[in-house]
């Protein structure tokens, strides 16, 4: 890593904060921290960190409010680190603009992997991925020719399947909620039609994955949405 990325940790529990900062500093990241929402928002705007780790249960402000206020002036990736593990909480946070969500207790490996994904998305802004060829492991997507290959073999996809895969591949590594996927592929009126999504994801899995029930790329997060897994 040429220059250490700056990570802002917004967490009110002192023990959790100490451990997070320890883990991050050990990896060579430059760290900032705040113990409440107001300080966190101020730090996020002033220091322009590369990633924000946000706890949802802060003493002064709701996590959603913190995210909204940060989003008003910054597109910094926000990773929610929360003890609330129910899918509704995850979906709400992701729909409110979080880039990713990890549940406490979180393993260091897992957290660091998510941070790397977030940092990568900063380096390659999503908009630029509409042309060229994107390759993940043996899966390749040619946006110019609208062609998808797995291990060099062309896969025939219907227009809907192609759109679905391109949305997933553009945000590879992070979870996209069912609602976001439905909105992007089918349009806002279809936001609640999870049945469509299930049917098409199944088709896509059976076309792309060697073992659909033990997938390499198209990972489901129960009750939340889907993630296109980056190869290790």
């Amino acid at each position: 890593m040429s220059e250490p990325a700056t990570i802002l940790v917004i967490e009110d529990d002192p023990h959790a904060r100490t451990l997070l900062l320890f883990t991050l500093r050990q990896q060579g990241y430059h760290c900032l921290h705040a113990s409440n929402g107001a300080d966190g928002i101020a730090a996020a705007i002033k220091h322009e960190p590369s990633v924000v780790l946000l706890d949802l249960g802060l003493p002064d402000l709701e996590g959603g409010e913190v995210m909204r206020r940060i989003r008003e002036s910054s597109r910094v990736p926000i990773i929610v680190v929360s003890a609330r593990g129910q899918e509704e909480d995850k979906v709400a946070a992701l729909d409110q603009g979080a880039n990713d969500y990890v549940t406490k207790p979180v393993a260091a490996r897992e957290l660091l992997a998510r941070i790397r994904v977030a940092l990568r998305s900063v380096q390659t802004p999503e908009a630029s991925a509409d042309t060229g060829i994107l390759t993940l492991g043996d899966l390749a997507m040619d946006f110019d020719l609208r062609r998808v290959t797995v291990a060099g073999i062309e896969i025939h996809l219907t227009p809907t399947e192609y759109r679905l895969l391109s949305v997933l591949i553009r945000s590879a590594g992070r979870v996209i909620t069912s609602r976001q996927l439905l909105r992007e592929v089918w349009g806002t009126p279809y936001e609640e039609q999870t049945g469509y999504l299930r049917v098409y994801m199944k088709k896509l899995r059976y076309k792309i994955e060697r073992e659909p029930a033990n997938p390499k790329y198209l990972i489901n997060e129960a009750g939340v949405g889907y993630r296109l897994r980056l190869p290790e």
Partner: protein, 417 residues
């Protein structure tokens, strides 16, 4: 030889009428070394009973109709000799609705309506003059028939509703029983890892330990913490099971997807173990709570990891059988002592040789059973021919599953910008 064939045929016919599939008893089955798929017979017997149960219902309705007719004719004759010498129809009007009510409760609405129709014909044939002839009923007889039919219909609907409620109540009681057993135990179990954590943590903090001791105590802290994490996870899953809190929408879940999600979570624990999955695309979408069913699969695979040697493979298959989707998790471990296939689902059952220090608490399979029961399904274990165990669970597929066809229409549309 011929006699034997006739005998078998007759046996089959009787079995078919009574709605029973001829299934070898479990002991016979083990001896005859049935092919792997045939092991699901235990399940087929259940599904089969329901399938033939429909035929059985109509057959019973026919028998009860005959009985009612005989009884009412007998009563009619008795009362006729006493009074006017004319066949009375009130015994029929009394016994037949009673019979219909019985059929409704036992066999459901269809056979009851069938019986009502038979009743009308018999009534017309025997009691409406001219007797022993089919006649177009007069307005008055029409009314009688109409009343009889509507009584039967109303009773049918009420009885059917009652039956459904009873079934639901039975299922809820079962889930409740399992849930309570788990809750009582869990809150106690939480203290075990906590005790170890407090002890090891205090020692690390306050005592002078040599490096080897420090390492050992830190290992205990890490192991007990993840055990606590698992227990709390189970506790949270249990709260979801509370009184019909299942998060299901008809026909919206793909089982292969949930298996994939479970395997993704288990990736690190699985290590180098070979996982083989077999999930045909035809297996229909169905409805279940994906978080809970993922937990079932995670628990089953964790069990395999815990009870089989490292490197021994795990096989997961899915298939559709009658109106169920069946998932099976098979291993090549030591299996379960014969006769204990049911006991493994009991709380705190940990097998004859509890595995190495792994934080297992004998909870996993009990939680699985509670979750599957809450879905109206069933879970069971069988020893595998050639060594190992198979746990299967079956989830009902509802009739009104969403059809992929409706979304084909969308696919045909022009791509959106």
């Amino acid at each position: 030889m011929r006699n034997l064939a006739v005998c078998v045929f007759r046996q089959r016919l009787v079995a078919r009428i009574l709605g029973v599939n001829i299934v070898p008893s479990s002991r016979n089955r083990q001896e005859t070394r049935a092919p792997p798929r045939a092991q699901t017979l235990g399940f087929e017997r259940r599904g089969g009973t329901r399938r033939f149960g429909i035929l059985r219902g109509y057959w019973t309705a026919l028998c009860v109709s005959a009985l009612c007719t005989f009884v009412s004719i007998a009563l009619s004759l008795l009362s006729a000799t006493a009074a006017t010498g004319k066949l009375q129809n009130w015994p029929f009007a009394m016994t037949f609705p009673l019979g219909i009510l019985f059929i409704t409760i036992r066999c459901g609405v269809g056979p009851a309506i069938f019986m009502a129709a038979i009743g009308v014909l018999i009534f017309d044939f025997i009691f409406i003059p001219p007797a022993l002839e089919f006649t177009m009923p007069s307005v008055r007889d029409d009314l009688k028939l109409g009343v009889m039919l509507s009584v039967a219909a109303i009773a049918s609907v009420l009885a059917e509703r009652l039956r459904q409620q009873l079934e639901l109540a039975r299922r809820q009681a079962e889930v409740e029983r399992l849930r309570n057993a788990l809750l009582i135990g869990l809150s106690h179990d939480l203290r075990t890892p906590l005790t170890a954590l407090v002890g090891a943590g205090t020692a690390l903090h306050e005592s002078d330990l040599d490096p080897a001791q420090r390492r050992e105590f830190s290992r205990i802290v890490a192991a007990e913490a993840s055990r606590l994490d698992r227990l709390v996870g189970h506790l949270l899953k249990l709260t979801r099971l509370e009184s019909g809190g299942l998060n299901t929408k008809p026909g919206t879940q793909a089982i292969d997807e949930t298996i994939g999600a479970a395997l993704c979570h288990l990736e690190r624990q699985l290590g180098v173990r070979a996982i083989r999955t077999h999930a045909p695309e035809e297996v229909p979408l169905t409805s279940f709570d994906p978080v809970l069913i993922e937990q079932v699969i995670v628990n089953l695979v964790e069990n395999v990891i815990r009870h089989t040697p490292e490197g021994s493979p795990v096989e997961i298959s899915v298939f559709a059988q009658h109106d169920h989707v069946v998932v099976e998790v098979a291993d090549r471990g030591p299996g379960v002592p014969p006769g204990e296939e049911e006991r493994v689902f009991e709380r705190h059952y940990r097998g004859p040789s509890p595995p190495r220090d792994d934080g297992g608490m004998g909870l996993g399979l009990t939680l699985c059973r509670a979750i599957v029961a809450a879905h109206g399904g069933r879970i069971w274990l069988e020893n595998r021919p050639g060594g190992g165990a198979i746990v299967r669970f079956a989830l009902p597929v509802e009739k009104s599953a969403s059809t992929p066809e409706m979304s084909h229409a969308l696919d045909a549309g022009a791509p959106r910008a």
